[in-house]
Symmetry: C2
Subunit: 735 residues, 2 copies
C-alpha cells in the first residue's frame, strides 16, 4: 500500500494514479455503522444522499472505502451548470461590492476573459453539496444530524501540483507573490492569506534579526534602545500588514467577501420575522441574550487563568525549590519533576479548556461561520496567552523582584519532603536568585520549544498514521481470514482508489493552528525579546523551515482543504495588535526593573520605585500609541499595487458608463477630470433661451428684474457705467 510520503519519491513521479483525479471534484467518505438497525438507517440515508446530490446536478460513483466505509465520488455533471453557478456567484460578488464591474452578459466570451480557477470551482461545488436545500444546495452537513454517517466531504489533492510546489519551495530562499498566487489558485484565499502573512512576517524579521544581533553584541540585555527600536518595528509591521492585507484582498478580488457570510447550520433562532424593509424572512436570535452569554467569557478567562496559572505556579515553585533550595538526594532526577508534571497536565488541561471554549462559542450561537470562528479564536488566544507567556511573566515580575520575600514560603515543600526522607531532615542550600533564569527561559521558549514544536508537528502525525494503519492492517488480516474474499478493485482504478483511501484517513487542515503558532511567536518577540535580543534570529531560521513544513503538512499530512475565500487574516489581526501594544508595556517594565543591575534588584522589592516603574510604563504606552498614529498616517499615504488596481478598475468603469450615457467624444475628457459643464451649450443659445423664457408668458417681479439687462453685453455695459460713476465719486471725495 502506497504511503503518501512515498508518493513524493522521484521514481513515482510518472505513476498514473498520482497525475489524475479522474475529474473527481469531491469525495464523500461515508461510514457504515455496525449493527443491524443502524445499517438500515445508513442505507436509507445513503440513498437519500445520492438522490440529493443528483438533484442538484452532481454525478456520483460509489466505491468501497475501508472495511466499514464507502467512498462516493462526486463531480459536477455538466460544464454548463458549473458556468451558470460561477456566473451567479460572480454576479452576487458584484452586487455586494466585492467586484468592481458586473460580469458581462455574453457568457462564452466572458469565461474566456475570466477563466474559472481550480479553487473557485471546488468552492462552488462544495457549496452546492453543503448548502441548505432551500437555498439550492443538496443540504449535506457532514457529521451533523441526519447526515451523521457522512464522515467528511473532501476534494482530492492535485499531486502533480503538490510535488512541484514542495520541490520549488525547498530550493528557494525567498517566496514571492507568484508563489502565494499559486497557493491561492489551488487552496483558496484563506490558506493563501496565511502564507502571505508568514511571508511578510518572515521578510520583516530580517530587520530585528540583524538589529538584535548587533544589539546582542553591543548593547547587551535590557537595553532601552533595543526596546524602543523593537516596539517601533512591531508597530510598523502591524500597520504594514493591515495595509498589505487590504491590498492583497483587492488584488485577489476578495475585498469585502467577509460581508457575504456563510450561515452556520447549527445556528438556532428564537423566531423568524419578516424583515420590515425587504420582506425577506430573517432568522432572529436576541442579541441581548447573546451578549449575556458572551459575558461568560469573563469567568472563562478567569477560570483559564486560575487553572493554568495554578499549575504553572506550582511547577514553578517546585522547580525553584528543587533547583535552588533543595540540595538533598536524587536532586539530579527531581529537577525533571516540574517538567514531567507540566508535560502531563498542561496538554490535558489545555484540551479541556479548549473544549470548554468551543462549547461556550456554540452556546453564543452565532449566525455565521466567520463570527463563530472569530469568537473561538478569541478564546483560544486567551488559553495560549496564559500557557505561553505566564511563566515568563512570573519570572520577570514575581520571581526576580520578590524572590527573597517569597522563597521562605516554599517551606511547604520542605515539610512535604521531610515526610519522605528517613531522618526527617532535608538538605538545603542558601537561596540564591539564578541571575540567568529569565534569559534561559526565553531561550527555552524561543529556540527549544520552537524546535520541539516543529518536530511534534512534522513527525507525530506521520507516526500516528503509521500506528493506525498497522492496527488496521492487523485487523483486516484477521477479518480477511474469516470473511469471503471481497471483489478486487478494477485494475485501472486500484492504485487511484488506494490513494483516495489514504487521503480519506488524513486529518483536516486547520489554518487556525498555524496562525496561532505565528502569533504566539510574534508575542515573544514583541513582549520579551529585550531580554534576549537574538530572539528574532532564532525565529528567522525557524520560519524559513516553518513555511516549508506547513506546505508539506498541507500537501502530505492533511486532506486537501476546502478552498474558502477570506479578505484578511481575520481575528488574528486583533491579537497581533494587542501583543504589539502589550509589548510596549512589558518592554518598559523589563527594562526599568533590570537595566540598572543586570541581575535585577536582587530580590529586594523596596529597591524598586513603584511610581517610577508605573511612570515609565505609562510613558512607554502613550509613546507607543502616538507613534502608532503617526505610522498609520504615513502608511495610509503610500500607494500600493492593490490600490492602483482598484483605481484602474474604477476609472475604466467610470469611462465605460460615461460613454454609454454621454457619448464617446465627451467621455474621454469627462472621465479624467470632473464633469465639464456647459461646453455643449453655446453662450448665444443660452442667452436666447433665457430671453425666450422671460418673454413667454411668465411675468412678475423676477421676470422684470432679469430683463433689465439683456445678455452679458448689456450687463458689461451697465457695469462699466457703474464703475466709472463710482470712480468719479471717489475722485470727488478724495479731492
Amino acid at each position: 500500500m502506497a504511503t503518501l510520503r512515498s508518493l513524493y519519491r522521484s521514481d513515482h513521479a510518472d505513476r498514473q494514479e498520482l497525475n489524475t483525479n479522474f475529474n473527481v471534484d469531491y469525495v464523500v467518505h461515508y461510514r457504515i455503522p455496525p449493527g443491524g438497525k443502524n445499517e438500515a438507517k445508513a442505507e436509507a440515508a445513503f440513498v437519500q444522499l445520492i438522490e440529493a446530490l443528483a438533484k442538484v446536478g452532481l454525478a456520483t460513483e460509489v466505491r468501497r472505502g475501508d472495511d466499514t466505509s464507502l467512498l462516493i465520488f462526486v463531480k459536477i455533471a455538466s460544464e454548463n451548470l458549473l458556468k451558470q453557478q460561477i456566473y451567479r456567484y460572480r454576479v452576487q460578488d458584484w452586487l455586494y461590492g466585492v467586484r468592481t464591474s458586473a460580469p458581462s452578459k455574453d457568457l462564452t466570451s466572458y469565461f474566456e476573459e475570466e477563466p474559472v480557477v481550480e479553487a473557485e470551482k471546488l468552492r462552488l461545488v462544495y457549496l452546492l453539496i453543503t448548502k441548505p436545500k432551500a437555498e439550492g444546495g443538496a443540504g449535506i452537513t457532514p457529521k451533523i444530524g441526519h447526515w451523521k454517517y457522512v464522515c467528511s466531504v473532501f476534494p482530492l489533492h492535485n499531486h502533480a501540483f503538490n510535488r512541484n510546489w514542495i520541490k520549488q519551495w525547498s530550493t528557494k530562499y525567498i517566496l514571492d507573490d507568484s508563489d502565494i498566487n499559486e497557493i491561492r489558485d489551488k487552496f483558496g484565499e484563506k490558506v493563501a492569506f496565511y502564507f502571505a502573512f508568514l511571508q511578510s512576517y518572515f521578510s520583516f524579521l530580517f530587520f530585528p534579526a540583524a538589529f538584535g544581533f548587533g544589539a546582542w553584541l553591543v548593547l547587551g540585555q535590557f537595553s532601552w534602545f533595543y526596546a524602543i527600536v523593537n516596539c517601533l518595528w512591531s508597530v510598523v509591521f502591524f500597520e504594514y500588514w493591515k495595509k498589505k492585507e487590504v491590498d492583497l484582498a483587492v488584488q485577489w478580488g476578495v475585498r469585502g467577501v467577509s460581508r457575504i457570510q456563510h450561515p452556520r447550520t447549527q445556528f438556532q433562532f428564537d423566531r423568524e420575522t419578516k424583515d420590515p424593509v425587504t420582506g425577506e424572512v430573517v432568522k432572529v436570535y436576541s442579541p441581548l441574550k447573546r451578549l449575556r452569554r458572551q459575558l461568560l467569557q469573563l469567568p472563562f478567562a478567569l477560570a483559564c487563568l486560575l487553572v493554568l496559572g495554578s499549575l504553572i505556579i506550582s511547577c514553578f515553585a517546585i522547580e525553584i525549590f528543587i533547583s535552588e533550595v533543595y540540595n538533598g538526594p536524587f536532586k539530579q532526577y527531581l529537577v525533571f519533576l516540574p517538567t514531567v508534571l507540566l508535560t502531563i497536565f498542561m496538554p490535558a488541561l489545555t484540551t479541556v479548556l479548549t473544549n470548554l471554549g468551543q462549547r461556550l462559542t456554540e452556546i453564543e450561537n452565532y449566525e455565521t461561520q466567520d463570527s463563530h470562528q472569530a469568537a473561538l479564536v478569541q478564546k483560544i488566544f486567551v488559553i495560549n496567552f496564559i500557557t505561553s507567556y505566564l511563566p515568563i511573566f512570573l519570572t520577570a515580575f514575581v520571581y526576580v523582584p520578590f524572590a527573597k520575600v517569597l522563597v521562605p514560603h516554599l517551606d511547604v515543600f520542605q515539610v512535604t519532603a521531610q515526610k519522605f526522607t528517613r531522618n526527617g531532615k532535608v538538605e538545603t542550600k542558601a537561596f540564591q536568585i539564578d541571575p540567568d533564569r529569565l534569559k534561559k527561559q526565553i531561550i527555552y521558549f524561543t529556540v527549544t520549544a520552537q524546535v520541539v514544536n516543529f518536530l511534534l508537528e512534522a513527525i507525530v502525525p506521520i507516526l500516528k498514521r503509521r500506528v493506525f494503519k498497522a492496527v488496521k492492517e492487523v485487523q483486516e488480516e484477521i477479518t480477511h481470514k474469516e470473511t469471503p474474499e471481497k471483489r478486487p478493485d478494477p485494475e485501472e482504478e486500484a492504485a487511484f482508489l488506494d490513494r483516495v483511501r489514504n487521503e480519506a484517513e488524513l486529518d483536516e487542515y486547520d489554518v487556525t493552528v498555524d496562525y496561532r503558532e505565528m502569533v504566539v511567536q510574534f508575542g515573544y518577540l514583541s513582549l520579551f525579546s529585550v531580554i534576549w535580543p537574538l530572539t528574532a534570529c532564532s525565529f528567522l531560521v525557524n520560519n524559513w523551515v516553518e513555511a516549508r513544513a506547513d506546505a508539506m503538512k498541507i500537501a502530505m499530512s492533511s486532506k486537501r482543504p476546502i478552498p474558502w475565500r477570506s479578505d484578511s487574516i481575520g481575528p488574528w489581526v486583533t491579537s497581533l495588535g494587542f501583543l504589539s501594544w502589550l509589548g510596549s508595556l512589558t518592554s518598559a517594565a523589563v527594562v526599568f526593573i533590570f537595566s540598572h543591575d543586570p541581575y535585577g534588584p536582587e530580590g529586594d522589592p523596596s529597591n524598586l520605585k513603584a511610581w517610577a516603574l508605573l511612570l515609565s510604563i505609562l510613558f512607554a504606552e502613550h509613546l507607543y500609541l502616538v507613534v502608532q498614529l503617526i505610522v498609520r498616517y504615513v502608511i495610509s499615504g503610500l500607494d500600493s499595487p492593490g490600490l492602483q488596481k482598484e483605481r484602474a478598475e474604477r476609472f475604466s468603469m467610470r469611462k465605460l458608463h460615461l460613454q454609454e450615457t454621454l457619448g464617446e467624444e465627451l467621455a474621454e475628457s469627462a472621465a479624467a477630470a470632473d464633469f465639464t459643464g456647459g461646453e455643449t451649450i453655446t453662450r448665444a443659445a443660452l442667452e436666447e433661451e433665457a430671453r425666450l423664457a422671460s418673454v413667454s408668458g411668465q411675468t412678475g417681479p423676477g421676470q422684470v428684474f432679469w430683463q433689465r439687462q439683456r445678455g452679458a453685453a448689456e450687463t458689461i455695459q451697465i457695469g462699466r457705467l457703474f464703475i466709472s460713476e463710482t470712480a468719479a465719486a471717489n475722485k470727488t471725495k478724495s479731492s
Copy 2:
C-alpha cells in the same frame, strides 16, 4: 433702511421683498478699488467676470452695491442646463458609491421621482461659478489672484423659510428629525450635521444632568461612582454618535461623499505626472515633504503651550498672590488685575497663534479642502485645549497639591510690589489654600463663561454691524453732499436691493466655530465634571438656547452658507474621542487626589502616594479602553433607520439586476435567499448530458471511471450492495 432684525417683526411678514429672491441663485459682491490704475484693472476684471459667467451658462444682472461696490446677480440660465448638471453629479455620486443605484436614463420621469432640492441646486451653481475652467466651471476664486476684487459669492437667504424656522424652534422643546431634514434641504448636509450633533448631544445631556443632580445631592464632589458613570456615559455618547453619523449619512444619501473631494485652488504641485494606471494627469506634491512640514505641528503645539501657558501661569500666580497672600491697599481693585490681563492678552495671543496655525496649514499644502480643513481644525483644537483646560489643570494638579511648596516663590511679586509702595513694605497674610477654588473655577468655566460667550456671540455682531452702518451712513452723507445724485433704484427693486446690500455686509457663517464651542464644552463635562456634578445641568440649559441662537445666527447675522455636503462632523469626532479618553485619566486623578480629603492634601505633596495615583490612572484608562471596546461591539450590533434604508436599496438593486439577467420568475426567489442551484436543470437531463459527454469521443481513465455506474439509480444499487456486504462482514467478525 431696513435692518435685518426688523425683517422678523411680524408686521413685515407680508413685505414683498422678503418673500422673493427674484430667482437669484447667487450674488457676486464686486468691490471697486479707488485709484485710477486699479479702476481700469477692476473694469477689465469685471468684463472678464461677466463673460466667464455667461460662458458656462449663467445669466447675470448688475446693480449698484454700496458706494464702492457692485452687486452682480447670477442665475442659471436654463432649466435644462441645471438638470444636465445635476444628472451628471448624481451619476458621479453613483460611480463613487455614494448612491446605491444609477440614475435612470429617462430624464423627465427621473426628475419627477427625485426632485432637485434647494441645497443641491445652490451647491451645483456655486461649483459652476468656482470650479476651474478646465473642469467646466467659470473659475471664479473670490479674493484670490486675478479675482481679488470679488469680495464674496453668496446665495440669498430664503427669508420666508428662515422666519418660519426661527418661529418654530423658539416654541419647541425638542427638535426632531424633520427639523434637521429641513435644515439639510436649505443649508446642506454640512450645517445639518452640526445641528444633528447638537441635538444628539442635547438629548444625551439629560442623563448626566439628572444623574449629576442626584450625585450633587447624595454623593457630593469627587465621587468615584460619579466619575465612573460619567466616563461610561461619555463612551456611550461617543460611540453612539459615530454610529448615528454613519446612519444620517446613509439616510441623507451622502455616505462616502468625503471621497469626492473638492480640490483646493491654492494647492501647489511639485510636478505633474501621468497616473501609471489611468493615464490621468495627476498633480503630485511629495508626501515626504508634506510630512516634514507636518512635523512643524510639534513645535507649534509647544509654542502654543509656552506662550499661552506662560500667560495663564503668570496670571494665575498674580491672582493667587493678590487674593491669598497680599493684604495691602487697593486689594479690592488689584484682584481684577489678572482678569484684565487675560482679557487683553488672551484674544490677541489666540489670534496670533490661530493665524500662525493657518499659515502652517497652508504650508502643508493639501490637495483637497477637506484635508486642509481637518489639519486646521487640529491646530485650533490645540489652542482651544490649552486656553480652556490649562487653568483647571493648574489648579487641580499644581496649585492644590503643591501650593505650599510653590507659594513662597511668589516672593517675586512681593519684591516687585515693594518697589511701588512708599514704605517698601507689602502687607501680606499667611497663605491659605482656598479649598473652593477648584469648584469656583469650574463654575466659572461651565456657567459664567458659557453665558458670556453666548452674549458675545449674539450681541457683538449686531453691535459691530450697527457701528459699521453708522460710520458708512455718515460717510455716505458726506459724499452725497459733494457728488452728483446717483440714479435711484427702480421702485419695484429698491427694497429687495436694500436687503441684498444688507446681506452682503454680513459675516460668513463658519460652522467650525460652533463645533469648537460644543466640543470644548463636552471636554469640561468629560474631564472635570467630577469636581462639580451640576455641570451637565448648566450645559443642558445652555444648549437649548445655543441651538436657537445658532439658528438665529445663520438666519440673521450671517450670509446664507454655501450648502456643502459632508458625511460626518469630520475631524471633530477625533477631538471628541480624545477628550472622552482623557476624561478617564483626569477623573481618576482628581478623584484620587481629592476624594480622601475634600480640600485636597493641603499642599503637602508628600502625602500623595505617587505610585497609587499612577496606578489608579493606569487602571482607569485601561478600564475605559475595555469598556469602549464592549460598547462599540454592542452598538455595532444595533439596527438603525439608515442601515435599514441601505439594506432596502441594496435588496431592490439586487432584485432588479437579477430580473434583467435571470428573468422575472427566478429573480423573485433568488434575490431573497442566496442563489439557488439547479432547479431549472432536471435530473434526468443532467444525467443524459453526462452520459452523452462521456460517450462522445473523449476516452481515458476518467471516462471509464465515471461510466461504471450510469446514473444515480445504479450508484444507489451498487452502494446498497456494498453496504450489505460490509454489514455481513461485520456480522461475521463480531460473531
